[in-house]
C-alpha cells in the first residue's frame, strides 16, 4: 500500500469521519479510512442520542438495519438540589411517528453498523492503525499521513481529520491550538442493565418508546456541568460531566461525583437492581464558537469534535459531527468533479457551506453562552436550589396563609441574589441567548 495514492484519507471512524468517508466513497472517490481501535466504536463514547435528520441526509433508509435502542417520546429537564428535583417534562404522542426524530443508541454498536455501510459504499477501512503524524510537501501542504504500521506512509490529495476531541494529529501538526481546561468538559458514564419490562414500567413506556433526562443543579457541586440519564432497550446510560478546569480546582473525583448523582433520591430508584457492565470517560468540547479552530487548510479539513462542533446548550454534538462530515465530503467530491486542487483556497468552500447550515448558525447563536456560564455559577447552583425551596414552600400545606408563602418565596429570592443580581442575570442570559 506504500505507493498507493488515495483521493482522500479520513482519520477516525466516529460519526464525523464515517459521514465524510461514506459521502466521498458513495460518489466514487478512492477513500481510505484509518481507525486506531480494534473495531470502529471501540474508542468512542457518547450519551448517546442519535438525531435522525442528520443521518437521514446521509443514509435515508438507516432505520431498516441500524442498531437503534428507543425513540424518544419524553424529555425531562431536572433542576436538582440535594433532596429534590424540579422538573420540566415534555411528552407527546406526536413523537410516536413513522420516522421518529431522536433515538437512544449504543455507540459501539452504532459505529460498527455505520462503518459497515462505509465499507459497502466502497471505502477501505483500516482498523488498529494509529495515525502518528501528517506528512507535508516542501511547500507545507498536507499530502498524507504516517501511521504506526510498518512502512506506514499513506498519501492522498486531502486528509479529513475526524479524530475526535483529543485529536493529537492535527494539534501536533499545529493546525489547531491545544484545548484549554475551561473549554472542555470531562464526562463519565455507566451502563446499567435491567430487564426491558422493568425499564418500561419505571418510565411508563410501551414498545420502543424512550425517555431522556438532563439534569443540573447541586449534583455538580458548584461546577459548570450537567448530568443525564437515557433509557436504552435493556439498559440505562447514566452519566455526569463538568468542565475540566472546575474539576481541577475542586478536587472532586469524577467517579465520586457520578456515584453521588446515582444515589440522589430522584435517580436511585430508576437504577435500582441494575447490573453495571461498563464505566467510560470522555471529553466534550464545550467552548463553543469562540473556541473553534480553523477547520480547513492546505490539503486538510477538520470535522466533528476535533473542530469543536458541539452545541452545549442543546446537548447536541453527533448531529453537528455527521453534518460537518457530510458537508466536508460533499465539498471534496465537488472539487474533484471540477478538477480543482484541495488547497486552502478551494477548501474554504467547506467553511462557506458549513456557515450556511444549522451547524455554524447554531454555533454562532450561542457563542456567548460558555463565558456566561463561566462567570455566573449561580445559574447552575443557586437557582435550582431556590426553585426547589420555592416549590416546597408552595406545595407544603402547613397552616401558613398563601400571601405569607408568596412573601417568603420572594424574600428568599431577594436575600440570596438581590434584585440587581436577579435583573442582571436575566439581562445576561437574554443577551447571550439572542
Amino acid at each position: 500500500m506504500k505507493e498507493e495514492r488515495f483521493d482522500a484519507i479520513v482519520v477516525g471512524a466516529g460519526p464525523s469521519g464515517n459521514a465524510a468517508a461514506y459521502t466521498m466513497a458513495k460518489s466514487g472517490l478512492k477513500v481510505l479510512q484509518l481507525e486506531r481501535g480494534e473495531y470502529p466504536g471501540s474508542k468512542n463514547v457518547q450519551g448517546a442520542i442519535l438525531y435522525s435528520d442528520a443521518l437521514e441526509k446521509i443514509i435515508p433508509d438507516f432505520r431498516e438495519d441500524a442498531p437503534l435502542e428507543r425513540h424518544v417520546v419524553e424529555q425531562r429537564i431536572w433542576m436538582m438540589d440535594d433532596t429534590s428535583h424540579t422538573g420540566m417534562h415534555y411528552r407527546s404522542e406526536d413523537f410516536n411517528e413513522e420516522k421518529p426524530n431522536r433515538y437512544t443508541i449504543i455507540r459501539a454498536q452504532f459505529d460498527k453498523w455505520f462503518s459497515r455501510r462505509v465499507r459497502e459504499a466502497g471505502a477501505i477501512v483500516l482498523c488498529e492503525t494509529t495515525v502518528t503524524e501528517l506528512i507535508r510537501d516542501t511547500k507545507g501542504r498536507v499530502i498524507g499521513v504516517r501511521t504506526d504500521r510498518e512502512g506506514g506512509v499513506l498519501l492522498a490529495d486531502v486528509v479529513v481529520l475526524g479524530e475526535g476531541v483529543n485529536g493529537l494529529v492535527g494539534q501536533r501538526a499545529g493546525l489547531r491550538e491545544e484545548l484549554k481546561p475551561k473549554n472542555v468538559a470531562l464526562a463519565v458514564k455507566e451502563m446499567h442493565f435491567l430487564p426491558q419490562e422493568t425499564i418500561e414500567q419505571r418510565f411508563g413506556l410501551k414498545g420502543d418508546e424512550g425517555v431522556v433526562i438532563e439534569a443540573m443543579g447541586t449534583i455538580t457541586k458548584g461546577m459548570t456541568g450537567t448530568g443525564f440519564l437515557y433509557t436504552n432497550r435493556e439498559s440505562i446510560s447514566v452519566g455526569i460531566g463538568c468542565l475540566v478546569e472546575d474539576f481541577a480546582n475542586s478536587g472532586v473525583t469524577p467517579y465520586g461525583l457520578l456515584d453521588t448523582f446515582k444515589h440522589h433520591p430522584s435517580i436511585r430508584p430508576l437504577l435500582a437492581g441494575a447490573e453495571v457492565k461498563e464505566y467510560a470517560a470522555h471529553l466534550i468540547p464545550e467552548g463553543g464558537f469562540r473556541a473553534m479552530p480553523e477547520i480547513f487548510g492546505e490539503g486538510w479539513v477538520t470535522v466533528g469534535d476535533a473542530a469543536h462542533l458541539v452545541n452545549a446548550v442543546h446537548r447536541e454534538g453527533s448531529n453537528l459531527a455527521m453534518t460537518s462530515g457530510r458537508i466536508a465530503g460533499e465539498t471534496i467530491v465537488y472539487l474533484k468533479r471540477r478538477r480543482e486542487p484541495c488547497t486552502a483556497e478551494y477548501l474554504k468552500e467547506y467553511r462557506k457551506r458549513l456557515e450556511d447550515s444549522f451547524v455554524l448558525k447554531d454555533m454562532r447563536k450561542y457563542k456567548d453562552i460558555p463565558d456566561l456560564l463561566h462567570g455566573s455559577r449561580q445559574l447552575l447552583d443557586l437557582y435550582p436550589r431556590m426553585m426547589s425551596k420555592a416549590a416546597q414552600v408552595w406545595f407544603r400545606v402547613d397552616g401558613k396563609d398563601k400571601r405569607a408563602k408568596e412573601k417568603e418565596i420572594i424574600g428568599s429570592l431577594r436575600r440570596q441574589r438581590g434584585i440587581a443580581g436577579l435583573v442582571g442575570d436575566v439581562v445576561r442570559v437574554a443577551r447571550a441567548w439572542r
Partner: protein
Amino acid sequence: MGTEAANGGKIEEKLFQNRYQVDSGRPHVKIREHDKPSETLMKLTNICPAGCYTVDDKGRVEVVPDGCMECGTCRILTAESGELEWNYPRGGYGVLFKFG
C-alpha cells in the same frame, strides 16, 4: 454517602467491568522525573477518571495507565508544563469499549 466514601476505593471496581488490551511494557503515558510533584501533578490524582495517578512512598506522583480510558484530561492539564509524555496506545491496544 460522604465525599470520602465517594472518592474512596471504588474505581477499581468500576474499571473491572471494562475491556482492555494492555500493551505490556509500553505505557502510553509517562511522567517526567521529579522529586517533588507540582500542583498540577497532584491534581491528576483526583481528576483522572480511571484513578491512574497515585502518590508513591517517596511523595512523587506515578502513573500506571493500564486502566486509562484515553480521555486526554491529564494531557490537557499538563500541556503547558510538559510534565507528561502522552501518546495514544498503538493501534488495537488500550481500552476497548463494549458499549461506549
